[in-house]
Amino acid sequence: MTSEQQVDTLVTPEMEEKKGVWENERVSYPVSESDIRKWALASYWPEKPPQLFWDEEYAKGTKWGGIIAPQDFNPFAWPIDRPPRQESNGPRSGRGQRGMNGGQVETFGVPIRPGDVITSRTRLKDWNERETRLGLTLFTETEMEWRNQRGEHVKTRISTGIRY
């Protein structure tokens, strides 16, 4: 016999209210050449990273016209004030409290450059719920959008969360 409460759905009223509503807006510090260089060094370690990410003279000769950041660069690392831990998009107790990261899809626009200030916002985009080998399982899609100070699209990430 299971001690878990049987539920018909893992979708909560809070989710219904939040669907499609942008939230969690934040603004990065200005990105520096040094931030980009350190990111590139760490992520390419133990090999030297591409010059595009640290050599301005080289980068000027490329289509980009100057140093740019790799697409995986995170301009929100090391904030002074840490944002509160985000509430999960799922039930508060019992069934649906177990979760997994179902992966992500990122689409890229313009690159991040030294001096850029990036704004980010997220929204609960969609979900679907079905029976799987784990039982009743909720798949949520959270959309995160980054834009630079010129309003240009930098990146969109759709993350899939799995709750069961």
Partner: protein
């Protein structure tokens, strides 16, 4: 500037050049430092075992995603672009794993004014196990 690969020169079925990294605390800690990603399961063996990984601390998924982008970038060069990349996080990245990024071209077409090449991708460990199946779309320059 040198171009690594032109749109005209790639074909469906072509595979990414070999790209690998051996991972352990050195690589995880360096990545954690820049990404501000200090999580005990990636830093401490006891915490890793408490998370039900018998071998202790394990690598972060974000680093494997970074490896995918690095491998794509090394192939396409500085005059091309990555337009899209996707991963699912499956098997754990254990200490001293050698991770290899694999990719195979599944389609190429001109779309929205861009020379787009579609790839099926993965990050596999030294045992050939899938750790991050996914896909990518890159935009390549023309020869002329």
């Amino acid at each position: 500037m040198p171009i690594n690969v032109y749109f005209e020169d790639v074909n469906v079925g072509d595979e990414l050049p070999e790209w690998s990294r051996t991972t352990d605390f050195m690589s995880w800690n360096r990545y954690a430092a820049v990404n501000d990603e200090f999580v005990y399961i990636h830093m401490d063996d006891e915490a890793g075992r408490a998370a039900l990984n018998e071998r202790g601390a394990f690598g972060m998924g974000n680093l494997r995603y970074t490896y995918l982008l690095n491998a794509l970038r090394d192939w396409i060069g500085d005059e091309a672009e990555i337009r899209e990349a996707a991963v699912q996080y499956r098997a754990i990245n254990q200490k001293n794993d050698t991770l290899t990024v694999t990719g195979k071209i599944t389609d190429k077409k001109v779309e929205d004014g861009e020379n787009r090449v579609y790839l099926e991708t993965n990050v596999v460990n030294q045992l050939g196990e899938t750790t991050c199946p996914g896909h990518a779309v890159v935009v390549l320059p023309n020869r002329s």
